[in-house]
């Protein structure tokens, strides 16, 4: 029996298990997936928790609901990958051998990387919403908050779901407006980027939305420390932003197992060929999702599009053919803008988010870089699609490769 081993049963790993179990004959290939946790989190839903729209139960399901028949599942921490010997060591000493390895160990927030972030105000007046614990603590805090300076700070790039911090401030604007206390809440968005987003057109559109909603923007801010006593964040250049409530997007790092295995860069991401998804160093190792150092968004949509590419290329590798699929860095993000509306961006390594319609050229129903109710419904419906279609590796009517049709230059 040949062995395919998948490390990580999040969005990317689960999709790959489903796709490859269909591709690889069960009498020839054993597929094993390893993860330390039994709960699958619908991470896009974390955004809704602080505003009381979702509760914890809306974003969790057992991982076991999503594994196909015929895949061996091991719940265990991973000690180390030994890429030279084609071994993975688990915490309990068990050694797993593989012919091919897929690394899908993701990334996670590392608040300890910023001085003073995880200090005495942590989960009292300083929160994150990229963990379920942080999102719930913030929801509780908002229930009785009397208002003041609400500061949302992105620590550094890259971080998961690049639009979520913007969605957060848009939602905060709507939330406090609906509660009749928007005049008591001063919302400031503080980012290391030179504007609201990276690329020119999306930055302009989203920057105008911030202005329209009376949200302050502090760009080019590289955080040095959080001062808990004086309740302010300070950057290396000396700029200070005071807060009464700080919502931080901490630095994101790849999993510790990557650094223990000596396979990562200085943020624990695995150097990966951005087109083939093969490890730069090891022929029989592929990397998918947030664990890779690809120059695109760390987002479920990227993992989803990359999954089609990896499925094809892994089959090429197994059958000894040259790679036929090439990942273009495709990302697709619904952006909630509050008050039941949303916008949408679609882009890749080379093409910035452009206006237009999606997925059907001229028809939509979704509008790119436009604010509409339909885009909001897209986001709302997505949770159902995520649980029922996407994780199970089934087809969606969206191309893995970004399409220019429907986009306006």
């Amino acid at each position: 029996m040949k062995k395919l081993l998948i490390l990580g049963a999040g969005t990317a790993g689960t999709m790959m298990a489903n796709k490859l179990r269909k591709q690889l004959p069960r009498d020839q290939w054993e597929i094993t997936i390893v993860d330390q946790f039994k709960t699958h989190y619908y991470q896009p839903g974390f955004l809704f928790i602080p505003f009381g729209i979702y509760t914890k139960n809306d974003v969790i399901k057992p991982k076991s609901d999503f594994f196909p028949v015929g895949v061996k599942v091991i719940y265990s921490k991973i000690d180390k990958i030994q890429p030279e010997e084609n071994n993975v060591l688990l915490d309990n000493g068990v050694k797993l051998k593989y012919d091919y390895l897929i690394i899908a160990t993701g990334c996670k927030t590392a608040p300890e990387e910023v001085d003073g972030l995880k200090d005495k105000l942590w989960y009292k007046e300083i929160f994150d919403f990229y963990t379920v614990e942080g999102a719930i603590a913030l929801a509780d805090h908002f229930k009785t908050w009397k208002g003041g300076d609400l500061v949302v700070n992105v620590s550094e790039l890259p971080y998961k779901c690049p639009v979520a911090p913007l969605e957060f401030v848009f939602y905060a604007d709507a939330f406090f407006t609906e509660r009749g206390m928007r005049d008591k809440v001063n919302i400031t968005f503080v980012t290391p980027l030179p504007g609201a987003f990276t690329k020119p057109r999306a930055t302009k559109m989203l920057g105008e939305l911030l202005e329209e909603k009376n949200i302050n923007l502090v760009p080019d801010f590289a955080i040095m420390e959080v001062n808990n006593d004086e309740k302010k964040i300070v950057d290396y250049g000396g700029t200070e932003v005071p807060f009464d409530c700080l919502v931080s997007i901490p630095p994101n790092m790849g999993d510790d197992v990557i650094s223990r295995s000596g396979m990562g860069d200085d943020m624990n991401y695995v150097p990966t060929d951005k087109h083939t998804l093969q490890s730069n160093k090891y022929e029989n190792i592929f990397v998918i999702g947030d664990a890779a150092n690809l120059p695109t968004s760390k987002a479920g949509s990227v993992a989803h599009f990359a999954a089609d590419i990896l499925e094809e290329n892994l089959m090429c590798a197994i059958e000894g053919r040259p790679y036929t699929a090439r990942f273009d860095g495709h990302a697709n993000c619904y952006i909630e803008t509050g008050f039941g509306k949303g916008t949408l961006i679609d882009f890749n390594y080379d093409t910035e988010p452009l206006p237009g319609s999606f997925p059907f050229p001229g028809l939509g129903p979704f509008g790119l870089l436009k604010v509409s109710r339909m885009n909001h419904y897209g986001k709302v419906m997505f949770r159902w699609m995520y649980w029922h279609i996407l994780l199970k590796g089934k087809e969606l009517p969206i191309n893995s490769e970004m399409q220019m049709a429907g986009k306006k230059l």
């Binding site: 987003f197 040095m224 290396y236 250049g237 860069d265």
Partner: protein
């Protein structure tokens, strides 16, 4: 794209004044670009510039974190050396492309 003369050498620069061919770069050119940015280059500046050029040459991404961990200078000193937007200024003076963030 246009041509600019630094230290008597004609170099190609883009619309933001970044050199398009880093192999044309010399220390003399660096000093003149720095002057335009209002910076007088010291040996420490050049240590940082060397580090940045070697990072870029090996295809690595530049980050404040990377500078801070470089052992050359810490992030605070980096900001003092290239005030305001240090990565943008340092890459310009080092004859490299402006760092792009991709998210």
């Amino acid at each position: 794209m246009s041509t600019k003369t630094f230290a008597g050498i004609n170099v190609e620069v883009n619309e933001e004044g970044y050199m398009t061919d880093s192999s044309q770069w010399t220390k003399e050119i660096a000093k003149e670009i720095a002057k335009e940015e209002g910076i007088e280059l010291t040996d420490t500046h050049f240590d940082v510039i060397e580090f940045i050029r070697s990072k870029v040459a090996s295809g690595e991404t530049l980050t404040i974190r990377g500078i801070n961990k470089s052992g050359v200078v810490d992030a605070k000193t980096f900001y003092k050396l290239f005030p305001g937007a240090p990565l943008k200024k340092a890459t310009k003076i080092a004859g490299l492309q402006k760092p792009e963030s991709c998210i």
